[in-house]
């Protein structure tokens, strides 16, 4: 039995220590906003925060979350910054299929938490681990800048 603290709620789970947080969240806790994309930390769809830091939950075992706080896409809107990023995503019309956007938003919030005014290079560095097959990258960049209070002029 292992206890996960997710978005402020305690969950006692009967899974082995090596179970990735991704599958514990999706299939045991029942929070499916965190997405499976690759299982190898290659695409970022499964990004959640562990004590505020972004991690790839598909390769991070539940044992690593012992005594720590997990925040998922379902909980990120509770923070002022999280809400601001979600609103910027809507304002900039980022989503298409939307499948990767949970992970994109979690990576973006983690970036802005560390760096309130990221440069284009900072954004590239923080976000290039997140694949979007619909290629919404330019709008993600604009949304991050909008959330950071920078001008985020859309493409012509």
């Amino acid at each position: 039995m292992i206890t996960l603290n997710v978005n402020g709620d305690q969950h006692d789970l009967d899974v082995t220590d090596d179970t990735p947080i991704l599958w514990a969240l999706r299939d045991v806790v029942g929070l499916t906003g965190t997405k499976f994309g690759c299982g190898m930390s290659l695409c970022g769809a499964c990004t959640v925060h562990l004590d505020g830091k972004p991690i790839r939950s598909c390769v991070t075992p539940v044992s690593a979350a012992n005594g720590k706080e997990i925040t998922t896409i379902e909980g990120i809107g509770a923070s002022e910054l999280g809400k601001r990023v979600q609103d910027a995503w809507i304002e900039q019309e980022v989503v298409q299929c939307g499948y990767c956007q949970s992970g994109q938003i979690m990576s973006a919030v983690a970036l802005l938490k560390e760096n309130a005014t990221p440069s284009d290079q900072d954004i590239d560095n923080a976000m290039s681990g997140n694949i979007c097959r619909c290629a919404t990258y330019a709008r993600i960049r604009s949304a991050i800048k909008l959330a950071a209070g920078q001008p985020a002029a859309k493409e012509a």
Binding site: G39, L42, V95, C97, S102, I131, Y137, A138, E155
Partner: protein, 731 residues
């Protein structure tokens, strides 16, 4: 957007969906005005199916007594924005706020929900807005007229003195107003008017204006439900391994080690695959890895990428079925003094949707429930009925948002597999493919081998054009009736409707099937043919020593829309200004012209090629004339996404085979474009009153040759075999 909680699905999926069935489907919507209309109408089907002349109750609008408008969405949302554009079309004529429109996934029914262009309930071929453009507006207009009639009757005034506005009917002279909700009960007893007058486009308030996507809120807070997110009581999770060689069979499985894994439930054997059912995906994955599986590889265990290429090159020596023959191109080319010829090759490609393949199934004695995101709900229903022996109307498809389609979710191989697994247990099972399974058991964009040649006159212009296409016929499997006299219309699309003025044109097609499954991929036929045509026209321009844009413009004398788009693109992209070369390496600009899916697109691409021959696309200028645009920002988004999808494929996309096995397995060796590699994309829309063209696919089709042409401009190397990165780094 508010997706309604799932309600009952009608049990009449094969027959007409009647008012009664819709009311059942919409139980909970309460009393209201229910309007039936036909999407097929009298439209001729592009594929030659459907399109019956009779009026078939077809898709539905419901307005309840609170004025809430619900439409049953006959298309699925896979990112293309259709769940925003469909409500916009209805809301425009119905005079309601678009954000007040609710959507419900349609149950499977070709007759009721078939697309006007495709004749079946399919989301694909960039058809959604093209097919629904008129019928959805007419449906909105009919409902509005009926509501006005009721209000006018109540007020004892003439309907002409009333108008509709923001969900209310207004009596102009007195300013009296009544909300729709108060009118729907009486309106539901009126016959629907047969003649409708649609708004003049200059009066549009919603269509053509940017509207926020209605699906955004649920997609930024984790509540959007994709197929893979389904939760059903007592559900278990399965993951699967199919024979690594196509056509191979399962011989035996030893599960003694798997049984020791916590959460393991049971092994399910299929003819060509083995699945493990477990409490959760991790236990299923671990258990699958612990199985000792013996396969009979069958007859396809020896082919490789090299042998497949030899086979198709040999097949291309045959004469093909004639798809187009104007003048006497073969004769003119044979006797020409000057000619140019080339061979173009395009690789197998995987779809790699971000949402891996999955399907949840519960088979019971008296019915089967399937939860999945599919572009083809009726086909999914049919295949499940066949496998379970149940009547088709006992198979209930619960359709979901798609985490990318790109053609992959036009196929039901995974639905069939999931049903075969679920048949063997008495509880619901969610089958989820790993990314490795998703890439190694995709159905692939076919390899194409095209021979192309032209006879050239003194000015360097083509007098004859011959395009000989060899490749798999997807249509022969997907929709055999569309294949006429050996010509697969998809395999030649983009080759036969040449926009350039060439007096003699001959296009033929040789069907050649590889020993692996093939399927549609974003941009379908044009993604293949536009690459060949636009690369070769660029070769002809270079051969003539002419500027690629000027050469094309001269040949577009009979294609005014294409020519206008090219002129605008050249201006917007500052075509005549050379691109500055980087400190190290080279730079160049390339262009391509596309007419496909009813849309005209020109793209100008800037690339940099570094000393290690690595290509970086810096900028794409894209000019689009897709007729009337319903949601301009959706057109922009589809161009941005389609372009990068195409660049990804053109630069890196390739599925390879050794010993009958796919070599790529995940994103480390099947490369995707990432944010740091994404070019600036500038999209310009040409204002147009023409009927809407498709926009989901052509951005992808147009960009591939533009990138290759830019690489030629930068390096002098003509890439005739994709992917570009490999062509530049191998000799």
């Amino acid at each position: 957007m508010h997706m309604l909680p799932e309600t009952q699905t009608p049990d009449t999926a094969r027959g007409d969906v009647s008012r009664r069935d819709f009311l059942k489907l919409s139980s909970g919507l309460g009393i209201g005005l229910l309007l039936e209309f036909s999407l097929l109408g009298t439209a001729c089907s592009k594929l030659g199916i459907g399109g019956k002349q009779e009026f078939t109750p077809n898709a539905f609008i419901h307005i309840d007594q609170d004025g809430v408008v619900t439409i049953v969405a006959h298309k699925v949302e896979m990112g293309q924005g259709t769940y925003t554009s469909m409500p916009m079309l209805i809301a425009e004529e119905l005079e309601v706020d678009v954000s007040k429109v609710k959507l419900q996934h349609a149950p499977p029914d070709d007759k009721a929900y078939g697309d006007a262009l495709l004749g079946a309930q399919i989301t694909g071929g960039s058809t959604s807005v093209r097919g629904a453009w008129k019928p959805l507006r007419e449906a909105g207009a009919r409902a509005r007229m009926m509501l006005i009639q009721v209000a006018a009757d109540e007020w004892k005034v003439r309907p002409e003195t009333c108008y509709a506005e923001n969900g209310e009917v207004v009596h102009q002279p007195t300013g009296r107003r009544v909300p729709y909700g108060d009118l729907v009960e009486k309106a539901s007893r009126l016959p629907a008017p047969t003649a409708v007058t649609l708004k003049d486009p200059k009066d549009f308030k919603i269509i053509g204006k940017p509207v926020h996507r209605l699906d955004s809120p649920s997609k930024v807070n984790g509540t959007a439900e994709f197929g893979i997110d389904v939760k059903v009581p007592d559900m278990k999770i399965a993951t699967v391994s199919a024979s690594p060689v196509f056509g191979g069979k399962l011989v035996s499985v030893d599960d003694s080690d798997a049984k020791k894994i916590q959460g393991f439930q049971q092994v399910i054997k299929l003819d060509n695959a083995v699945a493990v059912i477990a409490d959760h995906m991790w236990a299923a994955k671990q258990s699958l890895a612990a199985l000792k599986i013996t396969w009979d590889d069958g007859e396809h265990a020896s082919f490789s990428s090299a042998s497949l290429r030899e086979d198709i090159a040999k097949a291309s020596e045959a004469k093909g079925a004639v798809a187009k023959n104007t003048g006497n191109a073969p004769g003119v080319i044979a006797s020409a003094d000057k000619k140019l010829e080339a061979v173009y090759e395009l690789p197998f490609l995987a779809h790699a949707t971000m949402e891996p393949i999955n399907c949840t199934v519960h088979v019971q004695d008296d019915g089967c429930d399937i939860w999945v995101g599919t572009q083809v709900p009726v086909v999914a229903q049919m295949v499940a009925a066949q496998l379970t022996g149940l009547a088709q109307d006992k198979v209930r498809i619960h359709n979901h948002l798609l985490g990318g389609g790109f053609g992959r979710r036009l196929e039901v191989d995974s639905v069939a597999q999931a049903v075969s697994i679920a048949k063997q247990v008495n509880f619901p099972v969610k089958v989820v493919w790993t990314r490795e399974e998703d890439i190694q058991h995709d159905m692939y964009r076919p390899y194409y081998y095209d021979r192309i040649s032209a006879a050239i006159d003194e000015q360097g212009n083509p007098q004859a054009w011959q395009h000989h296409i060899t490749g798999s016929s997807i249509m022969a499997r997907f929709f055999p009736a569309a294949v006429k006299d050996g010509v697969d219309p998809d395999a030649v699309e983009g080759a036969t409707d040449l926009q350039y003025a060439v007096p003699n044109v001959y296009v033929d097609y040789v069907r050649h099937e590889p020993p692996l499954p093939t399927a549609f991929w974003r941009g379908v036929g044009p993604t293949h043919n536009i690459f060949v045509v636009e690369s070769f026209i660029d070769e002809l321009a270079a051969n003539a020593g002419k500027d690629p844009v000027a050469y094309r413009l001269a040949l577009l004398k009979n294609a005014p829309r294409a020519k206008a788009v090219l002129e605008l693109a050249a201006e917007k992209a500052n075509w005549s200004t050379p691109v500055a070369a980087p400190a190290k390496g080279k730079a160049g600009k390339g262009v391509s012209v596309l007419f496909a899916f009813g849309s005209y697109i020109v793209q100008v691409v800037e690339v940099e090629v570094d000393p290690d021959q690595q290509v970086r696309v810096k900028k794409v200028v894209c000019v689009v004339d897709c007729g009337y645009t319903v949601n301009p920002d959706t057109v922009r988004a589809q161009m941005e996404g389609g372009i990068m999808f195409g660049i990804t494929g053109a630069l890196w996309g390739e599925i390879n085979f050794e010993q009958g096995r796919v070599q790529e397995s995940n994103f480390h060796n099947y490369r995707m474009m990432r944010m740091n590699e994404a070019p600036v994309v500038e999209v310009h829309l040409v204002p147009s009153q023409e009927n809407p063209g498709g926009i989901g696919e052509p951005g992808t089709s147009a960009v591939m040759p533009a990138v290759a042409n830019a690489v030629f401009a930068a390096t002098g190397k003509r890439v005739r075999k994709l992917p570009i990165a490999k062509a530049l780094t191998t000799t």
